[in-house]
Subunit: 371 residues, 2 copies
Amino acid sequence: MTRSTDAKEARLKAVRRGMRDIGAAAAIFGLSSNLRYLTGFTDEPGERLLCLIVGCADEPTFIVPELYAAEVRARTSGFVMRVWRDGETPEALLSGAAKGLSGVAGRILLDDTLWSTFALSIQRAFAGREFGLASEVMEGLRLRKDEQEVGVMQRAGEIADRAYEAVTSQKVAGLSEIELAGRLEAEMLAHGAEGVAFQTLVASGPNSAMPHHRAGARRIEAGDVVILDFGCRVAGYCSDVSRTVVCGDAPAEVERVYDAVRRSYVAARDASRVGTPAEAVDRAARDVLVKAGYGEQFVHRTGHGIGLDVHESPYLVEGSDERLEEGMTFSIEPGVYLPGRFGIRVEDVVVVTEEGERPMTHAPHELKRVA
Amino acid sequence: MTRSTDAKEARLKAVRRGMRDIGAAAAIFGLSSNLRYLTGFTDEPGERLLCLIVGCADEPTFIVPELYAAEVRARTSGFVMRVWRDGETPEALLSGAAKGLSGVAGRILLDDTLWSTFALSIQRAFAGREFGLASEVMEGLRLRKDEQEVGVMQRAGEIADRAYEAVTSQKVAGLSEIELAGRLEAEMLAHGAEGVAFQTLVASGPNSAMPHHRAGARRIEAGDVVILDFGCRVAGYCSDVSRTVVCGDAPAEVERVYDAVRRSYVAARDASRVGTPAEAVDRAARDVLVKAGYGEQFVHRTGHGIGLDVHESPYLVEGSDERLEEGMTFSIEPGVYLPGRFGIRVEDVVVVTEEGERPMTHAPHELKRVA
């Protein structure tokens, strides 16, 4: 997303305010969605330490390996940069940062996804301090999406819809799960995605009963139930959609389970109102499946927040009394898994508004038969 | 890779031996290449804690979120499994593990890429203990690849070669970097890759001067230098190759820099002999570019080890006196970057053998002109 410098400064200001509120001296961000949110820059994490240190008072400082330096300079502004070269280590730069903060009381917050190898280096450099997680501050900031964020998420949803339509109108029987996943991903890239949001899941036949099965070598055949779970990124923001299709004709039991999952999905949508606790949405979905006799086979929560991360707050899960607010975006994805046989999942991401919830993806919810 | 249970047991045994040697009580692995190496199972890391605790004495214990449970059971054997459900937290399971190890002296090793959110939970559960990194043990074990590992890496290399050939024989001008990256990735999947090894880099025109530029919206045009840097996975093992092509005719300076980079690459290949220190390979590559007047523009190390991780030991970098051994696999990838103008990089992964080094990829090294 092209964010004006003003918007980025407002975000950094909010982070500092949040840190002061909870008694943190600094937050250290790695190559993560938090870094992208604050600076516009990110990349896949790697073995070279690249981090942004945001102290309560000073200018934020980037510690950057030299081969990223040109790009960080080109894509960000308003930061101090300390560069280290291959053949050196960044330890001295971390110690320098620790020294600079030695007069500031408070905990050091670590980016939640920062690798342990860096966390232990930071703990050595900041010896004697207490540590917390950046999410203590960032979660609240990122929870409600603004109009621009919702706009790019809708675009990411449209691209996923088009890929689904393209892939399921062609013959599917005979393809391996990986081939079908590859087609979905290529279609999303061809329609303007910046990348995939996560490794596409294609779970066919008995594999569909494993909710976290990725795509494998298994070839899809007539009679298979196939779960497709995929999404892409636009300006860093994710889409995430699941549809269950059947290759050829569906046995009556598949129809029955599908119908229950679909009703569960609708119940969760209906419950997604401003002010509702997150766990109430989970309960609405779960109640339908319990009544249908599949409560034990719905082995995961009903949904997860989504934005710059595929999974972020709010989580629609038992025990969460977090109340839904306008601008929150999350998946609704009840599923039933019958081990060794088949599984069914239906998923869309919705955004909560004062007028009700609105889906980001629009592929039909009827059980689709594919060739 | 389908590893016999025996081979996995031998690996676990080696880990335990390594832990005893350095005075560690346990190692805790997340969703990582180390976990795949030891158990055959891995996945993208996510916000739910999934880890394997390998103690010096007890049976190794998986802590697993319920929705992964069926898959972990199906894909692994010989492990104790402790399952937690959405709506619970894994804290009690971590505390239980800490209690079980309370009589065993020694440090707790954290998987290097384990997220800080989990590292801090583990540090709370194992309060009062010292922490180290799993790489202290794992690096040595994974450094030399056996015949089976080299075999799948060669296969991953062949697939990358075929994708390169397919993509560069078609018209490239007019495509965006992202579209070209998408084509490379789709070709690799179509030729049997299990997935991409990393997000494909396509850096065109001035972007090629930023060594870590990913693919963006820029459209490739006549006269552009384009760096393609890509790779795929077979059975978890990675390929990684870079070629620089020119769209249409190359200015004389591009030819000159290309020639220097290619000679630098050859020098590094020639230096890659059993017993040579890693830094000597870096020096061999660097000396050529210094003599050609581009020493300052070669801003990164000459190469990195590769296997289940795209970047792992050994690193070919100044200051590393690690001696090359048979079975080590690493990239050789000198590059020259002229900011604002263009960059050149040539890269292959090689395996060290007693008879000399052998490349995993075979695309020609001449500067290729694409349409």
